[in-house]
């Protein structure tokens, strides 16, 4: 089991463009550039020191003030026991696109569909990227902050 | 002459006194038909009631207990509800086959029931190929299920129907062969002869080892024939909804429902007749006094007690066992029951040849 500093050192040696933060969070947060998301994912899973094989939570966040969407993946290593959060911000808010992680952690297959459904982030390389919960004809992505639905969503 | 025989003879005389012989014959046929229809309905309702009460007993609850004394009228009320309901089917169904299917089942079970002697001389017609006739007629029922599944234009129904086809054709063999084992002992296919042969000992005691094996096989394959748990793959409610009768409602559904229970009755009645002596009272060797007391209980009562016992056994299975899978079902029949059955026939033939029976 590695502490946050050791994970940070290993990752920094691998890729020096990563941003790290432990502020206001229980885990080590690592931001990665969209184009390096997939390769870092592979590294996290396969590196014998890290072995983050268990992705237990994946979600999206909308940051309208920064004009970006973000995905947040909580990772744990089952054999080693350490944890971290992998985060990636999309370039734009209107046409968000990221590489899929579903070939690295198959569990994200469903999570990415959910994120696509509720945030509209498209995942390149995903084999079955369809809306998961909502009807295919649904307009908009509900968890975005500027989503308006006067019929179904009552705002007090 | 037994009481039941006297009764039928009296009715016969009475009709002859009233009509010409030809008309009396027709009147007899009509009366028998009506009697069987009435019996059919009453037995069906009674069995449904029984099933529900016994299920409740196994499941630590009460079962129907509000309508009528002990809830006896509950099934009548349910039947009335079903009759009053509008039949709703699918639009794309093959309407001719869809409407035809329930009658196949109900008629085949009605015909099958007619050869079973419920007392001395108490069967609609006592033909010399009775056992054969019963097996032949009861296998017509599977056509009804297949047609129902095909005609309702529903994938679940179709799966259920095809399962049923595979199941019925396979288990038909075991039913037939296990009955054949006992026929070897009797030497006649006529049901009244089969019962008559058991006036000293029931066949299950007479044929001892092979007879007991045949009895067990018959109960297993009979349960499968009547599509009941653990062989209820045809309906398999957790897998197929309601299987072949998913798309039926109202009176058509009631027909399927009723015929299932009547089939159970037939299987039990045949088991009781062929293995447990039918309407013959229980006799122990030379215990004259005991045998005499037993003789006082009329034949039909014996018949229904024995049938009821087998029915209870089948209900017990239903509320205890999980369901088999389709390949396990086939495996059980073709790999275990059928070879065992064939060996058992040889064994029985050998015993009969050597005279090693009671």
């Amino acid at each position: 089991m590695l502490d946050n500093q050791s994970i940070k050192d290993i990752l920094f040696a691998q890729n020096d463009t990563l941003e790290f933060s432990e502020e206001n969070s229980a885990f080590l947060n690592v931001w990665v550039a969209p184009e390096e998301l997939h390769s870092l994912g592979l590294f996290l899973r396969d590196d014998p020191r890290l072995r983050f094989d268990y992705l237990f939570c994946m979600t999206g966040v909308d940051w309208p003030t920064e004009d970006t969407l973000e995905i947040v993946c909580h990772l744990r290593s089952i054999p080693l026991g350490h944890q971290m959060v992998l985060r990636c911000k999309t370039g734009s808010r209107d046409n968000p696109e990221l590489d899929t992680l579903s070939d690295i952690w198959p569990t994200t297959h469903m999570h990415e569909r959910e994120i696509y459904d509720l945030f509209g982030i498209r995942f390149k390389g995903h084999t079955n990227l369809k809306r998961l919960f909502l009807d295919p004809s649904w307009d908009g992505h509900p968890l975005k902050k500027d989503y308006v639905d006067e019929v179904n969503l009552i705002v007090k | 002459m037994h009481g039941t025989e006297r009764f039928t003879a009296a009715v016969h005389q009475w009709l002859l006194g009233m009509f010409s012989p030809g008309a009396a014959h027709i009147a007899e046929m009509v009366l028998t038909g009506l009697a069987y229809l009435a019996f059919f309905a009453v037995a069906g309702l009674a069995l449904v009631y029984l099933e529900r009460r016994i299920a409740a007993f196994f499941q630590v609850r009460l079962g129907p207990n509000r309508v009528g004394p002990f809830g006896l009228l509950q099934t009548v009320a349910d039947a009335l509800k079903l009759v009053a309901k509008e039949p709703i089917g699918t639009k794309k169904a093959d309407h001719f086959l869809y409407s035809l299917a329930p009658y196949f089942l109900i008629i085949s079970s009605l015909m099958a029931i007619s050869v079973i002697p419920m007392g001395a001389g108490f069967s609609a017609f006592d033909i010399d190929v009775g056992v054969f006739f019963l097996i032949a007629v009861s296998s017509v029922g599977v056509l009804g299920i297949l047609i129902a599944g095909w005609g309702s234009y529903n994938k679940y129904s179709l799966i259920g129907a095809l399962r049923s086809g595979a199941q019925m054709i396979s288990y038909e063999l075991s039913v037939g062969l296990s009955l054949l084992t006992m026929i070897l002992l009797v030497g006649s296919l006529r049901f009244s002869d089969v019962v008559q042969a058991q006036s000293d000992y029931w066949l299950i005691f007479k044929g001892h080892i092979p007879a007991f094996i045949a009895f067990v096989i018959f109960i297993i394959s009979g349960t499968a024939e009547s599509n009941r748990t653990p062989f209820d793959l045809v309906e398999a409610e957790s897998e197929l909804g309601a299987g072949f009768h998913s798309e039926y409602s109202g009176i058509q559904f009631a027909f399927f429902f009723l015929s299932e229970f009547i089939n159970m009755f037939i299987i039990s009645a045949v088991a009781a007749t062929v293995f447990l002596g039918g309407w013959m009272p229980f006799h122990i060797g030379d215990l004259e006094g005991f045998n005499h007391i037993m003789d006082y209980i009329p034949g039909p009562v014996w018949f229904f007690i024995k049938t009821g016992f087998i029915i209870f056994l089948m209900m017990w299975f239903r509320w205890t066992f999980p369901r088999l899978r389709i390949d396990q079902l086939m495996k059980l029949e073709w790999k275990y029951l059928l070879p065992l059955n064939l060996l058992n026939i040889l064994l029985m033939a050998f015993f009969v040849w050597k005279g090693w029976y009671l």
């Binding site: 237990f56 979600t59 998961l132 509900p142 968890l143 | 389709i326």
Partner: protein, 377 residues
């Protein structure tokens, strides 16, 4: 003249087709409004595609509107069979974020109720599991015992299913005077029943044949698909949050984390059966010495979490429930995510069901123990 190629004339004229059937949204085996689109060749399953959203209420969006006290009430509509544990997850998160230390009394009572919830949930699962493989009686047996737990819940907080007994800072009110007596009576009644269950279903030859070697979930795919809870432990992976990241009073009780190595339907079944024994064991350790103390710490009327991110996990009857909150310091969360156990457990279905028959498929989804509102949220 015939050429040398092999072909079957029957196969040419009467070729077989794969076809699709809808299992659900109204189907007895899916236990709710889950729709599974099965591609089938005869009886054999070729592909499974879940179609979700029939009970999607967008709880996460509602959370962004409501305040923290209200959010607690939404959580027991997710996995309604472990509502108490769901409530606890949010309450623990708020308490940790605000650094409120609840008394030992609260911790112990929460833990006892957690385990009662777990038993009750497993009992329902057991009953339904039996029903799915065709043994209808198990359902009634399971419910008979479950009723006693529900009575305890009802006496404790007024509700039998969606309990809402946990509030941020402790419990809604103290336990009722007969709580200890009733819980002990339940344990006394329940212990011999587990043997009865094993006699009725576990040791039944048909049941064994129906479950052993069916739907094998390997250790590797269990991890890769993020499976949790008893489903994961059936494959031999340690993932019990109660052991790994203890919360409430789990750090002061002795219990075993149940593992099976095979990963088939029967192993998943056994894990849950043995977990009930462990739950009894946990309750027995706590029930006699519930410490005295405050049951509700003082909190502000409107709870505001500090700026930051919080993650709290608990072990529900189905596995790890994670609550992830991004707070911007206001009275509602900026973003709230529930990582529900059913969601990831469902995603593995295609992996383990393909190649099995419809009858097996029903048994497999039964041992995944899905609660649909938990998946859809």
């Amino acid at each position: 003249m015939r050429t040398g190629t092999l072909f079957d004339p029957i196969e040419q004229d009467l070729h077989t087709d794969e076809y699709k059937i809808n299992m659900g949204p109204q189907h007895p085996a899916t236990h709710g409004v889950l729709r599974l689109i099965l591609t089938i060749d005869g009886e054999v399953i070729k592909n499974v595609e879940p179609d979700l959203g029939y009970i999607h209420r967008s709880i996460e969006k509602i959370c962004e509107r409501d305040n923290y006290r209200q959010i607690v009430h939404l959580t027991d509509r997710m996995d309604y069979l472990s509502s108490h544990i769901n409530n606890e997850a949010v309450c623990l998160l708020i308490e940790n974020a605000l650094e409120i230390e609840v008394s030992d009394r609260v911790k112990v009572i929460r833990t006892i109720l957690d385990e009662l919830t777990r038993i009750s949930s497993h009992l329902l699962w057991w009953g339904v599991m039996g029903m799915d493989v065709g043994a209808l009686t198990t359902f009634m047996y399971g419910f008979r015992e479950r009723e006693m737990i529900n009575d305890i819940f009802e006496n404790t907080c007024g509700a039998r299913l969606t309990m809402n007994y946990n509030v941020p800072g402790g419990l809604m009110w103290d336990i009722y005077s007969g709580f200890v007596r009733d819980t002990k009576a339940f344990l006394k009644h329940f212990k011999p029943k587990l043997k009865e269950y094993n006699d009725l279903l576990t040791d039944n030859i048909i049941f064994r044949k129906r479950t052993e070697g069916i739907g094998v979930l390997s250790k590797e795919s269990a991890i890769a698909y993020g499976v949790t809870g008893p489903t994961m432990r059936g494959s031999g992976v340690s993932c019990d949050i109660r052991k790994l990241f203890p919360y409430s009073a789990y750090d002061r009780v002795e219990f075993e984390e149940i593992f099976m190595q095979g990963g088939d339907t029967f192993d998943r079944y056994l894990v849950r059966m043995k977990e009930m024994e462990q739950s009894i064991h946990i309750i027995e350790q706590l029930i006699d010495n519930i410490p005295e103390g405050e049951t509700l710490e003082k909190t502000r009327a409107v709870i505001k979490l500090p700026k930051g991110e919080f993650y709290q996990r608990v072990e529900t009857a189905r596995g790890e429930l994670g609550v992830y909150v991004i707070s911007d310091g206001k009275k509602s969360p900026y973003r709230m995510k529930f990582r529900s156990p059913g969601f990831s457990n469902l995603s593995v279905i295609n992996e383990i069901a393909v190649g099995h028959k419809i009858g097996d498929f029903v048994a497999i989804i039964s041992t995944l123990d899905l609660v649909i509102p938990d998946i859809d949220r």
